[in-house]
């Protein structure tokens, strides 16, 4: 999923350039179809990201220097209902 998100911007940029080529260049039909097909694949990848709803909330805890533990944070643990007290 992380990679999907990272590639989202790149995907949108590629789609932009594919549409630009289809609009501006005098392409052979097969070239055009190949470009279109690539665009379709990219669109599908991007749409998959938008349908995902699996973002988690985790607390980053350092067990020892450089050794990380990720503790899931459940909704009811997220807040005690008060403004932060700190102390």
């Amino acid at each position: 999923m992380t990679d999907d998100v990272r590639s989202f911007e790149a995907t949108m940029a590629e789609l932009e350039s594919i549409a630009g080529s289809l609009e501006g260049e005098d392409l052979e039909l097969d070239e055009a179809l190949a470009l279109f097909e690539r665009g379709v694949r990219r669109l599908r990848e991007a749409a998959r990201l938008l349908d995902a709803a699996n973002g988690r909330v985790e607390e980053l805890i350092e067990e020892a220097e450089g050794y990380w533990e990720l503790h899931p944070v459940r909704a009811e643990e997220e807040v005690d209902g008060e403004a932060p007290t700190g102390e």
Partner: protein, 308 residues
């Protein structure tokens, strides 16, 4: 500025002098805080640390948002709810720290440092809810300002309410007025991205149509027919992007052609799927990956183990 002093006042009548021995002195209102704030702001400004040019752009679609705040604070709840409402796929990494009191500044610095060393976050939200000037003070400490300035990951600050401006806000890459506003600043709204995708689907389809039209004008008529048939089967489907995934599946045979498969097409663009559609002696187009092969049916033999 104004102070309240508590002590012992002595009058020396001989010289007409007053002497005040102060035991305790306190700033009245926000005088001392204001002074410390302005001193640090002046220092940072003189170093160029507040220059707008220093501000980094936030990533458009972050995969992971690091949040430096108190585990039990309302600010965390606000950030999480706004981020997940807008971009439900986003992972949120909390780096817990106290956000007020004398230990808050070193804890904030340590919490930022953890996120940086962990390395998994694309953007950081440094936040706490509203409070008095004293409550928010850690965010005016030089150590916190230096940590934000040195942070290799873009930092969005959201400290207190709209009217509270802290040094952390001034040195951050983006200042959000409230924790919820920080959530809005760090992730895009899925609905907007969906609209963007939808527009792209339309644009791609439209541009392919343009290619077909141009092909027609230059006499590549048959090729145009095939593409038109494909495009028409595309546009029959609904226009929503969620529907786009299904709609675009129709095109996957194009990928299959690359692997060596071929699609026989009648002159009107229909795909010839069954033996009954081939008449010996009749011509058809064989669409392969890089060409259209004009062909004629010679003989039609059924497969011995054809299963439906």
């Amino acid at each position: 500025m104004e102070v309240t002093a508590l002590g012992r006042l002595t009058l020396y009548p001989a010289g007409g002098k007053y002497q005040l021995v102060v035991r305790q002195i306190e700033a009245v209102g926000e005088g001392l805080w204001r002074l410390a704030f302005e001193r640090l702001r002046g220092l940072l400004a003189s170093e160029g640390a507040l220059d707008p040019d220093r501000k980094r752009r936030l990533p458009a679609v972050p995969a992971t948002v690091g949040v430096v705040t108190s585990r039990t604070g309302a600010a965390l709840r606000d950030v999480v709810s706004v981020v997940h409402r807008r971009a439900p796929w986003t992972r949120i990494l909390l780096s817990d720290c106290r956000v007020q009191g004398k230990d808050a500044a070193p804890e904030i610095v340590a919490a930022l440092d953890r996120i940086v060393r962990h390395g998994g976050s694309d953007v950081i939200v440094l936040t706490r809810g509203g409070g008095s000037v004293e409550d928010l003070w850690a965010f005016n400490e030089e150590s916190v300002a230096r940590a934000v300035l040195a942070c290799p990951i873009p930092v969005v600050s959201a400290v207190g309410h709209e009217i509270d401006v802290t040094i952390a806000d001034l040195v951050a890459d983006f200042r959000a007025a409230t924790p919820s506003a920080a959530g809005e600043a760090v992730v895009p709204d899925a609905r907007e991205l969906r609209r963007e995708l939808e527009a792209t689907v339309e644009r791609l389809t439209g541009s392919l149509r343009g290619v077909v039209e141009r092909g027609r004008r230059t006499g590549r008529d048959r090729a145009g027919q095939i593409t038109r048939a494909m495009r028409e089967s595309l546009s029959e489907r609904d226009r929503a992007v969620s529907g786009a995934s299904t709609r675009l599946d129709i095109l996957s045979p194009l990928a299959t052609l690359e692997r060596g498969y071929a699609v026989p097409l009648a002159d009107d663009g229909t795909v010839l799927r069954r033996a009954s559609m081939f008449k010996p002696g009749s011509p058809y187009d064989l669409r392969i990956a890089d060409a259209i092969v004009r062909s004629v049916t010679d003989e039609v033999r059924g497969l011995p183990e054809r299963r439906e």
